[in-house]
Amino acid sequence: MITVYSIPNCPWCHKVKKYLELKEKAFTEINVEEDEAGRAELFKLTNQLNVPVAKINQNIVIGFDKEKIDEYLALK
């Protein structure tokens, strides 16, 4: 399961989502600018509120990090 924590108009958030789409991976998106529970969840996960953050199963990727995304997508 993949969750992307993002905000609207954030170009790096857009890039993470575009990459997951290219890889044909379904994901849930949480807009932390509007979703307070999602914002709290993001802080609990990463101890910060920078976006984008991708949660791939239980693994966290902060920012757009292609190598880490690929690595975590490859894990079963």
Partner: protein
């Protein structure tokens, strides 16, 4: 170079960078039926992405940078050029006879190359910068501005990018300090007026940041008044840095001649010291750096790249 297992790809034209110059070059090249690939490992659009309202690009009274670039990207793809924004260049070897660009996933052997890689934001020159990057020191207000709802922040810089950033961040912050080394702003009149009329904004001119401090994230900075040399501590939750840009030329410095400011030496024809390698946009030595001049460079570079390829294939001396 690690040349063992990666596929080798031969193509007509490789364009490095998908900003205004690179995309324009892509449109022209693809329309001339060159097999064209544009590589971009950051954001398509480059510096334009951060522009909130562009009012000097022909065809639009005012357009957001991200909207303008969406249109140009779509036009580039429609023209037939390919864009890869998920691969990264590892090494480059450029000679008159051969051009080799190794990325994470392939080795490209193009007949001609246009370097339109643009510029990187200059980092805040304090030793604590790396420690606080993303934890109080930021370079993308669109991405990180939301972190500072009701907080006290500073924007460092005095040009258009800094003033635009401060005007944008106004919707989040309760207080904004504009910190600039010079005696005044150099931004365009209209956005500057908007900022000057904002009661939340306090201007700290002739001021330098010497040090950043905080337990986990940024909590304060040490400022120096450049006129009196007095220092003081200013509590801050965040800093957005807009103090100029530096050319992204590190990959090419072994093969391509650079000027003292690290721009690629190339004149109006965009030709570099290597035959078949062109430099377009802000990365090139030039007096005026605007979207329109970047588009002009992309045009010139693509047309001359096509001429170079055609002449070479005919066996003429180029």
């Amino acid at each position: 170079m690690k040349l063992l297992t990666k596929p080798q790809k031969i193509l007509d034209l490789l364009i490095i960078g998908a900003g205004m110059a690179g995309l324009t070059a892509g449109i022209y090249a693809a329309r001339m039926k060159l097999d064209t690939l544009i590589l971009e490992d950051q954001l398509i659009g480059g510096q334009i992405i951060d522009a909130y309202g562009i009012e000097n690009y022909p065809g639009f009274h005012s357009i957001k940078g991200s909207h303008l670039i969406e249109k140009i990207e779509e036009q580039t793809l429609h023209s037939g050029a390919k864009i890869d924004e998920f691969d990264r260049i590892i090494s480059v070897k450029l000679t008159d006879a051969e051009k080799t660009i190794e990325t994470q996933s392939a080795i490209y052997k193009p007949k001609a190359v246009i370097i339109a890689a643009g510029m990187d934001r200059r980092k805040l020159p304090v030793v604590e910068e790396k420690h606080f990057r993303g934890k109080g020191i930021h370079y993308c207000e669109l991405c990180d501005g939301h972190l500072y709802q009701g907080k006290t922040i500073a924007v460092v810089g005095g040009g258009n990018a800094a003033v635009d950033a401060a005007n944008f961040l106004n919707k989040y912050a309760k207080k904004i300090y504009m910190i600039h080394r010079s005696a005044g702003l150099t931004a365009s009149t209209l956005p500057q007026e908007k900022l000057r009329n904002n009661p939340k904004v306090e201007f700290l001119f002739n001021t330098n940041i010497l040090k950043a401090s905080g337990a986990f994230s940024l909590e304060s900075v040490v400022l120096e008044d450049l006129l009196t040399k007095k220092q003081r501590i200013l509590p801050l939750d965040g800093i957005f840095v807009n103090i100029g840009v530096v050319p992204k030329t590190e990959l090419y410095q072994n093969d391509i001649e650079l000027d003292a400011a690290l721009h690629i030496k190339a004149g109006e024809t965009c030709e570099t010291n290597i035959k078949g390698v062109f430099a377009a946009g802000d990365i090139r030595t030039k007096l005026i750096r605007q979207l329109t001049t970047a588009a002009a460079d992309g045009t010139v570079a693509a047309l001359l790249a096509e001429k170079y390829i055609t002449q070479k294939e005919r066996g003429n001396k180029v």
